[in-house]
Subunit: 237 residues, 2 copies
DNA sequence: AGAGAATGTGAGCACGGACTCACGTTTTCA
DNA sequence: TGAAAACGTGAGTCCGTGCTCACATTCTCT
């Protein structure tokens, strides 16, 4: 792949048949990504699957990177509007309910097309274009921040930008790792519960509870419940 | 890269000069990964930088993937023993203190060689070998679980495996995204504070606080601070 | 109609990468 | 000491990939 190639300046489809070709190319790319991963998505292969010639691919996409980028863009735009709509439906709910709805939505979204999400997220760091500032990420964070602002008073974190960054990335990452490492979790209600607890616990004002929990054992625990001791020994290899 | 190549069966260094070559190769690989990324780490290039011939590389590593895998293994083993040692030093501290120490350790570890961590984490999903069960991940999770067990009684989550999964991945992911997206955060004390709040808040037993927080505004907020309203409108694009 | 623009074609080039192999050199050890 | 094993070499093979270009086809619009 040439490194100096500009990523944007390419012919835009003017006639409808061109639009069709363009769509076919994007769809084929997505399909290959899902089925065989990034490496299989060579320009020649994409052209073949799309039923067009390589030349046509390069009419509309200046490089392989631009091609994958376009698929990503399409997909992310969807995610963005989804979240926007989701947030619009929140009036009249408690913070707790709102967070649960949003988390559930993110999980459902990823579960709907797990493989595509997986591949795209993995390729994200390879996109030169995004190395500087990723407008999508910025908008996502702004959205979360906007969600937090009305609750600024009742919530612990003072730096809402950082809070948005943390919440967004927590939910995003935990969804992603569950997807790849623990697919069962995605459909397990308790996972949603835990994610909610995580976010809500983070937002809650401090208190003393766990701090009172006492010291860690020196060697062996002196006083401990039977259940605790049992699960402990079963945890050893 | 051939896909059918076995990843293990390769000559093991028996003489000391062989060990030297082997080390040189691994070091060169790591160095290239850090400086120029994965794509630059071609076998020929690795050999050149290591000062050996390509043939020697293939004496000990059956493929490029195996090569990178070896670097990863080395690096992850380090991380594992680090965490083990860190946990061994925790007796006599509160849960709160313990968590803070561990989080700070993870952050410091990544900040010490950010680029290597970054590249390796990015390449992780490409490793065919790990697609099934990743023994490193298993051991890490077991470690966290072992850490949690003595506190099973004073802590909210009932499923300690899931809790370990969530905590480990939260800290890991948030460290990583900070590394790549907000490097300033890594040295900011407040980021450590927030991560601690996140984990501790998650572990704390439930309570009513935020639930009482009331409803979200229907259309426009009725009662809201000036500051909140101001930053809110500025949040629009 | 027909000229020019838009669209589509695909053989093939240039390049670089992963990997092999036939052969030298050094070490081991009986 | 000398033969076998371990180690090291690097030119060279093979293959896929990204991408171009000269040309053919279709559309648009006066």
């Amino acid at each position: 792949m040439k490194s100096g190639t500009p990523l944007v300046p390419r012919r835009k489809p003017r006639q409808s048949r061109a639009q069709v070709t363009c769509d076919a190319i994007l769809t084929a790319t997505a399909q290959i990504l899902v089925k065989d991963g990034y490496d299989a998505a060579s320009t020649n292969n994409v052209a073949r699957v799309a039923g067009v010639s390589v030349g046509s691919v390069y009419q509309y996409f200046s490089s392989k990177e631009a091609l994958v980028m376009a698929v990503m863009e399409r997909h992310r735009a969807e995610g963005l509007t989804d979240l926007e709509e989701g947030m619009a439906r929140l009036s009249g709910t408690t913070l707790r309910e709102a967070i649960r709805l949003l988390i559930r939505q993110v999980l459902a979204k990823k579960a709907a097309n797990p493989r595509l999400h997986e591949v795209l997220v993995e390729q994200l760091p390879r996109m030169r274009q995004l190395q500087q500032v990723d407008p999508y990420a910025v908008r996502m964070l702004r959205l979360v921040r906007t969600f937090l602002e009305p609750h600024a008073a009742e919530v612990r974190p003072r730096d809402l930008d950082m809070a948005a960054f943390i919440i967004f990335n927590t939910v995003e990452s935990l969804t992603h790792v569950a997807l790849t490492g623990r697919p069962e979790y995605l459909t397990r209600e308790s996972y949603v519960d835990e994610l909610c607890a995580l976010v809500l616990g983070y937002l809650q004002p401090e208190r003393e509870a766990v701090r009172r929990g006492g010291r860690l054992p020196e060697r062996t625990p002196r006083t401990r419940t039977v259940a605790a001791r049992k699960s402990r020994s079963s945890g050893k290899r």
